[in-house]
Symmetry: C2
Subunit: 339 residues, 2 copies
Amino acid sequence: MPEIMNRQIQMASRPTGNPAPKDFCLVEGKIPDVTEDHLLVRNRFLSLDPYMRGRMSAAKSYAKPVEVGEVITGGTVGQVTQSRHPDFDEGDLVVTHGGWQEYSVVKGAECKKVNPSWPSPSLALGVLGMPGMTAYTGMKNIGKPVAGETVVVAAASGAVGSVVGQIAKIHGARAVGIAGTLEKCRFVIDELGFDDCLMHKAPDFPEKLKKACPDKIDVYFENVGGKVFETVAPLLNNFARIPVCGLIAHYNDTQLPEGPNTAPLILRDILVKRLTYRGFIVWDFAAQEQEALGSLAGWIDEGKLKYREDIVDGLENAPEAFMGLLQGKNFGKLIVRLG
Amino acid sequence: MPEIMNRQIQMASRPTGNPAPKDFCLVEGKIPDVTEDHLLVRNRFLSLDPYMRGRMSAAKSYAKPVEVGEVITGGTVGQVTQSRHPDFDEGDLVVTHGGWQEYSVVKGAECKKVNPSWPSPSLALGVLGMPGMTAYTGMKNIGKPVAGETVVVAAASGAVGSVVGQIAKIHGARAVGIAGTLEKCRFVIDELGFDDCLMHKAPDFPEKLKKACPDKIDVYFENVGGKVFETVAPLLNNFARIPVCGLIAHYNDTQLPEGPNTAPLILRDILVKRLTYRGFIVWDFAAQEQEALGSLAGWIDEGKLKYREDIVDGLENAPEAFMGLLQGKNFGKLIVRLG
């Protein structure tokens, strides 16, 4: 029997600014030995998420960066093909951080079984995984929407933003989304049930946002930064909360924007309006995982929480899909399906 | 018997940038009638506080601005000379917002009796008043210092900063102050018991701050902004808390600083380090007033909380003293004593 070979996408060079095809390479190699307490997993779905851009930078962050010549990290759902961990059997579907490759050898302790009752195991990478839990914990612990308040979120058709707005609605708040295309905006309003959704590229975006938020903004779930942030900030109400979960507009920045320096303005607004800005990473709230997944799954069952996946086929297409993600080209939770 | 006349300092013109003597004028006039539920108070101490600069601007803020021709607002301690409110008698010492004038007619409901057991009634304007309560509530609700953590505060010899650092010590945290002169720094270390205190004007201030905070910074009580903020920010630890209570370095700004625009840097730090910035005004925590004053008075009794007053005599000297306050010329809680 011929040895099974593994294919993986490695970081060929550290991207400067926008990642380019040359920064990635597809490499074929052997599968490492499966040592004790480990599993060999055949990956079926890779999750592409904006945070991965940060991992490709050497800048100090909350996780260690990917090095040149290493496989790109990322969440995966796959099937156990060999188990040396007592809790897992061959055939189990698990969610883990397998990276951009066909096969991963991972610690059993870092895998979780995917609930077989879910409509698709890929949901463990989206609405019932890290992005859904990000929306849930950010809203529960920081955003704290109250009935009648207004919640604004950008990337509103995306994996996190779509859940944020629907949680706002579940709490009786007004949900206003921001998205990149008219098609996405229609989906956010018609399918996800947001009260409104605006295109940030429209020249009259500031006026439209003002109209869409007649009582201004109480929660701004920050996942983009840039112009959207600048447009939202003047509309924040006293005591508004800003969970800071991502800044996709800046991930490819190679330098700070030109002046004037608006830092004193941000601080002044924090003071005068008594704002709360709080950054978080989903795993800061790891203890809430069961609660989050339980609530999210319950809302899906009740028809209160919709989701959309954007599925790309083939490992070799992961780099292009990822580059598109940073440009907002995906429509829904971006997933690469492996053959 | 000749009618008693009142002298008051009015805002003669709205200051642009640094307030100047021409922006103030001393006016003599009649005392208004004391209507029902009101008191006539002869002011003995005026409190000068940085927030008053904001009241002199037309920019939208949490309180309505002083208008040209109006008396400058401010906290006062005085003696009731006529009472039409059942809870107060002639001779009572009260703390209220009497403004920069010799006599004020104020609502009884907006006055509180000064505890006669305090060493001086003027403390009701400082360590046992708004500034002390600002430090207390900001630390209790936002800073939340824990034993072993490092707390940094600027204007460390001032009314708020001095209490912030001593509360840090009471909680077992390391207290590092920042002040404008060597004399103030010595006082902060030797009298107030901070672990260290640095001059922000020293050319090697960034290096010194780094050395004074070997475990970096967990709480930065923000009352100045500007260069101090920029120096502190890179030293913030993960999960650091930043109560934003004042921005004295910016109160006289007439325009934003030149670029580059560091706003994305602030947001990135919030995200990556999971910082909490939260603005507050002492009256957001009005319900904690008794607790705050009780704790502060108790700490004074126990010798754990020291204070220093900087007393200027004469109503006519209030404008100059206030202009000096904005330049950091005061040394301790700045108070004007009336004859």
